[in-house]
Amino acid sequence: MTLINISSPHVASDGDAGSMMRLVLLATLPGLLMLTYWFGWGSLINIIWAVLLALVFETLSLLLRGRPVGFYLKDYSAVLTGVLLGLALPPLAPWWVTLVGVGFAIIIAKHFFGGLGHNPFNPAMVGYVVLLISFPVEMTSWVAPRDLVDGQPALLSFSESFFQIFPVLTQPLVDGYTMATALDLFKQHQGDLIHQSVGVRAAFGYFGAAGWEWVNLGYLVGGLFLLYRRVFTWHAPLGMLGALLLLSLIFHGLLNIDSIGSPLFHWFSGATMLGAFFIITDPVTSATSLKGRLLYGIAIGSLIFVIRSWGNYPDAVAFSVLLMNFAAPFLDYYTQPRSFGQAAIYARKEKD
């Protein structure tokens, strides 16, 4: 009888990459519902278009690389990349913006590096950053949330949104429904005190940015569901949200700098919750050790706060995530967990 050497873990879970990705897709639903409610059908159309493109690019890349297409399409990672990018894009982004973004994400950020599991950078965020620096106008034209401005026409209907994104036969109808988001306002009115802005300017909602607070709540609900299903551990999201909370408490509460948003504002505007639960928890591009994940989250939260408060861009989730993707291997290197019965690595090295 031969004993087969199998390394631990010996108890296999019944989950695979595909079922994990499907759970994450399911968890984006509350956020997507809120986006659709507050900003119209655009996000939904964008997501469908992005997923279609992602599947086409994934198939093409796999064929070119000579890999089995069906097997890799079934892991849903391309679908997830498409959905995440679609969620991050402004609702009425023209079709070619999505095309360029998804193409970059799938072909260059993912398959150039060797496909799922080998990509050092989060594909959706690479696509987003390429779009943001290439097409600043299209990427910052956010639709005004529903019922925000008196006398503003209602949100575009489904077909209107469709023709806004795909101007076939017709010219794009209008682009007059966009307005600056709350984070934009913060950037443009740095000198103002926050109580001059909040309440006076319509872009601010009950506790975060108008409309955005509900979208972020949606992502938070989805994220907590994923946490409950143990798709990821609490370390990275807690680190990121904690760092944001602490820094905004210090600067807004303690030092009373009024032009920096309150903790609630930072939590519930922009892409905070989408980032905290759907982007930085990506198992491929984040740190893998638990301590490493915590540090990774803290660093991303701090970077977001710094760029939002003193940087050039209104929001910073994508930039912070990409910067920390660089650092993830180092974090892992310095936070290797101690295996049972072994002395800590540094103590052992010093002895030698």
Partner: protein, 224 residues
């Protein structure tokens, strides 16, 4: 020297041992100034001129240069040629000189030039050295212009903008607007676009080389 070796020198400079695609030298100006064809061509020609000149001078003086301090001497010779080119550009192509700015004096630090001085010019006779400098410079210029045209096309939808900065005034009409109402793809003109397109060019070069190797293997096999 036989004609064969001149052919080798040309093949090496332009393709087999291309300074950018194979040796990976001179990447700093390559990445920095290739936002448009005119910038790329300007810096490429300036580098070629310096390279050819310094190769000739070093080859002529190669018996007198002591081996131990050859590098400082090479750098001084290269720096004098760079200064000449800089003054010439200042005089005749002032606007381009302003655009390229720091990257003209930085030709001194271009590894391609110092590399050729040490590997080639200080060992061979003057005609071979001059020809090698010219070919290496042209290989460098070619990649620069190719990169510049890809980035300019992707970034602005047009080719050969502002050629009058380098050439005669009528070349202002050379601008080819290939795509109407192009939105502009800033990424291609910004530094990350340079890295990406350079990587793609190197990959393309390797692909062609590998294809030819495969074909030559098949050919020799079929002869046997």
């Amino acid at each position: 020297m036989a004609t064969d070796s001149y052919r080798d020198l040309a093949a090496n400079g332009l393709w087999n041992n291309n300074p950018v695609l194979v040796q990976g030298l001179g990447l700093c100006p390559l990445l920095a100034v290739t936002g448009s064809v005119v910038n790329a061509l300007g810096l490429g020609l300036a580098t070629t001129a310096v390279l050819t000149g310094s190769n000739i001078a070093i080859s002529l003086a190669r018996q007198q240069i002591p081996d131990a301090i050859r590098l400082p001497i090479f750098v001084i010779i290269i720096a004098s040629f760079t200064s000449c080119i800089e003054l010439l550009m200042n005089a005749y192509t002032f606007e381009l000189y302003e655009i390229l700015g720091l990257f003209i004096p930085l030709i001194v630090t271009n590894c391609v030039i110092l590399g050729r001085a040490d590997v080639c010019a200080s060992r061979v006779r003057v005609f071979a050295a001059a020809f090698d400098g010219l070919m290496m410079g042209l290989g460098f210029t070619l990649v620069l212009v190719l990169l510049g045209s890809i980035r300019e096309l992707l970034g602005t939808g047009a080719l050969f903008n502002n050629m009058q900065l380098l050439l005669w005034p009528e070349t202002a009409n050379w601008t080819l607007r290939l795509v109407e109402n192009y939105n502009g793809f800033l990424f291609a003109i910004l530094p990350p676009g340079a890295f990406l397109v350079t990587g793609l060019l190197i990959a393309g070069k390797n692909l062609v080389t590998r294809y030819h190797e495969k074909r030559s293997v098949i050919r020799t096999e079929s002869f046997e």
